[in-house]
């Protein structure tokens, strides 16, 4: 320690602290400090591990395990080529693609209307609020709502019949692929609106004005400026919609009681009654679903990172 009045002051080495009456952090206490820091987040990660990671891992492992011996096998994956399963994947993919495209396009148009289309503020507020609600109004109540609308005795069906259009007579049914698509759109559209609106808000008005000042028409603005800039977020959003529809269970179940052949339905049947008589195959099915979702999320993340650079400055 520097003596009082002395003109030389020196920094003490850590090892000298104790000798000079200063409490030094020991290695042990420093270690405990680190542990304490990390201890706080342990419950969260433990939970995530137990109830998210472990199930996913277990399914993965189970997909590659033989049902009887538990040895590594690709048989389960190969079994996915069963016609009924391929068909389930096909239908699921088709419904997801269709609702992603339709929801994407019409959602984009509505989001455009309230942002760049410059409709009044209250309209935009109302639409965004409603989208927040409607995107959560899925599953059982939604199915019933559509039954009440375009089911056999639904209000719109009856109305159209009175106007001379016989929906069910012409072969339409709510309980088919098309009906399910229409129903899915009810939460796909709002999801699109919510996801794409920030990107539309990020379109600077000056880009439009700069384009105009350079002689560009509206069509040229969209062709050379707006659409190229908006394509990554648009695609990303549609991929998100795809994943959203692919994983949907409750709506389809409530509407068709599991009669339409979707991957989620098959997995559900496997849970409630071992329909496949093959737990390994069930795992493979679930794994297949996870793989598709992982790809969707990865593409979406990549695309949104790309678009953030242009639209968030």
């Amino acid at each position: 320690m520097a003596a009082a009045g002395s003109s030389s002051v020196r920094l003490l080495m850590p090892s000298e602290l104790n000798a000079n009456g200063i409490d030094a952090p020991t290695t042990a206490s420093r270690l405990w400090g680190v542990v304490k820091t990390w201890l706080v987040v342990v419950p969260f990660f433990l939970f995530a591990f137990m109830f998210l990671v472990l199930p996913a891992l277990s399914i993965t492992v189970g997909s590659f395990s033989d049902n009887d011996t538990g040895a590594f096998t690709l048989a389960n994956i190969i079994e996915l080529r069963r016609p009924s399963i391929v068909s389930a994947y096909s239908v699921s993919v088709r419904i997801s693609v269709v609702t992603a495209l339709l929801g994407g396009v019409f959602g984009f148009l509505m989001a455009w209307a309230v942002s760049l289309g410059q409709l009044p503020r209250w309209v935009r507020s109302a639409l965004l609020t409603f989208s927040g609600v409607a995107s959560n109004f899925a599953g059982v109540p939604l199915a019933f709502a559509f039954v009440a609308t375009i089911g056999r005795l639904g209000a719109v069906t009856v109305l159209l019949k009175a106007l001379g259009v016989d929906l069910y007579g012409a072969g339409f049914s709510l309980y088919t692929f098309i009906g399910l698509c229409l129903t899915y759109l009810y939460f796909q559209l709002p999801l699109m609106i919510l996801v794409i609106t920030p990107s539309l808000d990020g379109m600077k008005t000056q880009w439009r004005e700069a384009c105009q000042s350079l002689g560009g028409s509206t069509w040229q603005f969209w062709r050379f400026i707006a659409l190229p800039i908006l394509t990554p977020p648009l695609l990303g959003a549609m991929v998100l919609l795809f994943g959203n529809a692919f994983g949907a269970y409750a709506t389809a179940y409530a509407l068709t009681s599991g009669q339409i052949n979707l991957v989620t339905m098959v997995i559900g049947q496997q849970i409630s009654g071992d329909a496949l008589h093959n737990p390994g195959l069930g795992n493979a099915l679930a794994l297949g679903m996870v793989v598709i979702m992982v790809i969707s999320v990865a593409i979406y993340t990549l695309l949104s990172r790309r678009s953030a650079r242009w639209l968030n400055r």
Partner: protein, 348 residues
Amino acid sequence: MGYLELHNIQKIFGTTVAVDNFNLDVARGEFVSFLGASGCGKTTTLRMIAGFETPSHGAIVIDGANVLGKPPAKRKIGMVFQSYALFPHMSAADNIGFGLKIAGKSTAEIKQRVGEMLELIQLPQLAGRYPHQMSGGQQQRVALARALATQPTVLLLDEPLSALDAKIRVELREDIRAIQKRLGITAIYVTHDQEEALSLSDRIVVMNHGKVEQIGTPFEIYNFPATQFVASFVGTANLMNATVVDARMVEVDGHRLGTHNVLPAGPGAKLRLTVRPETLTLADAEGPNVVPGEVQTVTFLGSVVRSRVKIGTHTLDIDALNNPQHVPPSPGDRVRVHVPAAALLVIG
């Protein structure tokens, strides 16, 4: 007849009059600045010339043709924005060539013109770079090149330097002026920075709350401000309340001051006068137009020494060029201030 004419332009938003009674004739190749504080209507007027706003009343004529009703795309204008507004997904070269691409020019022609423009802004190496890879100053240069590539009739600049650092601002504004002179293009420049306006313009339009306060050359605006607003907004102004004594004499706080010009009012009338700090000097002896006062503060600004002197009810700023041989006064000193007759201006 000017190249760009604005006749009785008025713009009303709801119940607010944003621009009122705006008249201006701009000659071909002239550089005119709209100078004023935020909300004074300068940007609104610029946007009306561009076509992004429509005047509530009045006419705008460019090169003999009335442009009212013409959309911006058809007005052959070039616009530079405060936020650069470069298209983020296009390289500098593509940005610059965009207007030509719209006009349907051939690839070869576009390439040549873009090359010329890049030379003009002295950034040929940035051709393939994207906006997010360029600094603010570089982006604004590219934006300028983009606006000029199509050879517009009028160049409109909306506070182009406000988003840039101080040092870059000075560099870039000189370049803008040099390019404008070289191309001989008519330019309208909106700014709230008087130094920019004074150093760049052939003429300045000073605006306040939608109204034109004064139009004139920088020299005129600074040395002969027409209103109190112009006197205070451009440079520093000392304001004094005076009473008229006779045709060329006023009384300020009991002191008699002679003026150069004939006063516009009769004896006894109250006038508002202004005098620039750099025209006042600290005198040694008594004499005509010399008044006594007490130094309040002295600020050393580097090249200028500003003394604040209390004279009666007024406090005047006196600017003197820094002179190492000459010690500035100290607060509390009793001094004499010489107010040259020619420097006294009536503004109200």
